[in-house]
């Protein structure tokens, strides 16, 4: 590459960003880079592309392919067309699991965002002690889910003198069976998810709050707005992009919920917390119904993609 300094300094960042239009350049330079860049780029991208192909795209293709067959090891697969999908979309177990997955995704997303917003508003500020409290509150997000599940199994100990039951007793509630009863298991699982994800939402919302133009607050209070009005008309609208981002992340996260269910209840009691992923896992790896499990995965994937694109579309329209 030549060292000829470009006349327009803005041209260089433009060069670096592949999404921006190419600036016009001297033909000599173009010719030299045309062959060198693609070859280098290919080599540099090769490791990432190989890994993604092997462990993301090929499994995805396999899922689609398997979903159209009755997979029979050693006997050869038998083409069944859409039968597996028909099963997934009509089988009561699958429908229950879809319902539970949707309930968990929606309530956890809403709960974590509301709680996260509340905590963020309470903990916003530059003081050192606030930073300390925020760090401590954030820890559940960092801790590996396996530990979170074990801790909550202990806290949810269903006897009247279990930890959470003791707390409930102080405020005149309980005792509850929590994970052990089909009536309370789903909400108990959801509560753990909110506990783990709310601090994450809090941090993102705090970053959004820090970006709110302070002169808007000054203008609002000069106009005589009280704290609630300022919150309602200045802060929340300014946070809208943050909420949309959190929604996207939560949609993807919520649909694939697995580890916490697997460890807290494994779908029980009596199927009351069975979600798509735990059902697919059991079908695929314990009962060897690979075709049906694959069809379930494809449906889940499709829902995730549609959700993501829908949120992106809303985001794009808002921006336009």
């Amino acid at each position: 590459m030549t060292s000829t300094a470009t006349a327009d300094p803005r041209e260089e960042p433009g060069r670096a960003g592949p999404q921006r239009p190419r600036p016009a350049r001297a033909p000599g330079r173009l010719r030299r880079t045309r062959f060198r860049d693609p070859a280098a780029a290919l080599l540099l991208l090769l490791p990432a592309l190989v890994i993604f192909t092997l462990f993301k795209f090929i499994p995805m293709g396999r899922a689609v392919q398997m979903s159209l067959f009755e997979v029979r090891p050693y006997l050869g697969d038998r083409w069944v067309g859409m039968d597996n999908y028909r099963h997934v979309l009509t089988d009561p177990d699958f429908l229950d699991a879809m319902w539970h997955t949707a309930v968990i995704a929606v309530t956890q997303t809403a709960g974590a965002m509301l709680l996260g917003l509340a905590i963020a508003l309470l903990l916003e500020g530059t003081a050192r002690h606030l930073w300390l409290v925020r760090t401590a509150v954030f820890l559940p997000t960092i801790v590996t889910m396996a530990v979170v599940a074990e801790v909550w199994r202990v806290l949810y100990y269903p006897a009247p003198d279990g930890v959470v039951n003791s707390v409930l007793a102080w405020i005149g509630l309980g005792p509850s069976q929590f994970l052990n009863s089909a009536d309370t298991s789903l909400s108990s699982v959801i509560a753990v998810g909110i506990w783990r994800h709310a601090p994450y939402d809090m941090m993102i919302i705090l970053a959004g709050l820090a970006g709110v133009d302070r002169t808007l607050y000054e203008a609002a209070s000069a106009d005589g707005a009280n704290t609630w009005q300022r919150l309602r008309h200045v802060t929340l609208p300014a946070l809208r992009p943050v909420f949309i981002i959190l929604l996207t992340l939560a949609a993807i996260r919520g649909m694939r919920v697995f580890t916490e269910i697997f460890l807290l209840t494994n779908g029980g009691p009596n199927g009351s917390t069975e979600v798509l992923m735990t059902l697919i896992y059991k079908l695929g790896l314990e009962r060897n119904e690979l075709g049906i499990a694959a069809a379930g995965s494809v449906v889940l994937l499709a829902v995730t993609v549609v959700l993501t694109l829908a949120v992106q579309a809303v985001r794009a329209r808002r921006r336009a």
Partner: protein
């Protein structure tokens, strides 16, 4: 600009600016409640790991009969081996992941080639394909890796290689490298530096902040892996520590104290890494969120 009373608009709610005895009391109570709810359960793990806790009702935030027995008994149950497995997986996985991300990001930030958009789209789409959703076909692929026909089931390598490329890291690194002025690189090129030397001697030193971000995120991401080890491990000798907790729990010979001791060892590495690199973590959190 009226800036009377510093910090008057320090926060949207103004809660953290409440003063006076009542204000302080209310704030103190709220902060204490938040700490108990969010940090309390983790504190209970720490305390329980060092106490004689016969049953879950005896869980407490104050140590009770201090003991190290839980750890020695946990070590008798191979917890050190699981911890070692975890470290091998996170060490190997992170090393590969950072290397792969840096190489890919350098291409995406600096090279012009046809199909950049396609590559970016592919990378973005991998973020919608988590191990959970791909579990069933992924386990088949791991049992017989296409082209090279190797069986990775029952090996730690099988837990490492699939996390060797992560879309998030590549995108964060790409964004950062785009901001590095091209002039610095061009000067080195005149001196005849090759591609890898430019990357190693010019770009990498300047990318330290981004390396910190993808380092800490990669660490917590790999440490939190559950589905992948679950698919790959064939018997206990390949368990990572998070995976082993379930077995420890269902073992009648193992008490609650031992489970909590093992849990403490499973939560410490990611918490310590987070505390050490908090600034980078927060940076990644916001940039990653923007990317979706």
């Amino acid at each position: 600009m009226m800036r009377q009373g510093k910090g008057r608009f320090d926060s949207a709610l103004g809660f953290s600016e409440l003063t006076g005895p009542i204000g302080w009391a209310v704030r103190g109570a709220v902060y204490a409640l938040l700490l108990v709810v969010f940090a309390g359960p983790l504190m209970a793990v720490v305390v329980g790991a060092f106490s004689r806790v016969p049953d879950p009702t005896r869980l407490s935030l104050v140590p009770d009969q201090f003991t190290l027995d839980n750890f020695t008994r946990a070590f008798e149950r191979d917890v050190l081996l699981y911890l070692l497995n975890s470290f091998i997986v996170v060490g190997g996985g992170l090393l590969l992941q950072v290397t792969v991300s840096v190489l890919a990001a350098y291409a995406l930030a600096r090279k012009k080639f046809p199909g950049v958009h396609l590559v970016l789209l592919l990378i973005l789409s991998t973020m919608m394909l988590p191990e959970e959703i791909l579990a069933i076909p992924l386990s088949l692929v791991l049992a017989d890796v296409p082209v090279i026909h190797v069986n990775l089931i029952g090996t730690l390598v099988g837990m490492i290689v699939p996390v060797a490329a992560w879309g998030f890291s590549i995108l964060v690194m790409t964004e950062f490298m785009k901001e590095i002025p091209v002039e610095l690189e061009q000067a080195a090129r005149i001196d005849g530096a090759g591609e890898l030397r430019v990357l190693a001697q010019i770009i990498l030193p300047l990318s330290r902040p981004a390396l910190g971000v993808i380092g800490i995120f990669g660490f917590t991401m790999i440490w939190d892996q559950y589905m992948l080890p679950l698919l790959v491990a064939r018997d206990a000798s390949q368990f990572t520590l998070p995976l082993a907790l379930r077995t420890l729990r269902s073992d009648d010979q193992v008490g609650l104290g031992v489970l909590l001791a093992a849990s403490l060892l499973a939560l410490l590495p990611s918490v310590l890494a987070f505390l050490a690199m908090q600034r980078q973590f927060m940076k990644g959190l916001t940039s990653g969120a923007v990317k979706g």
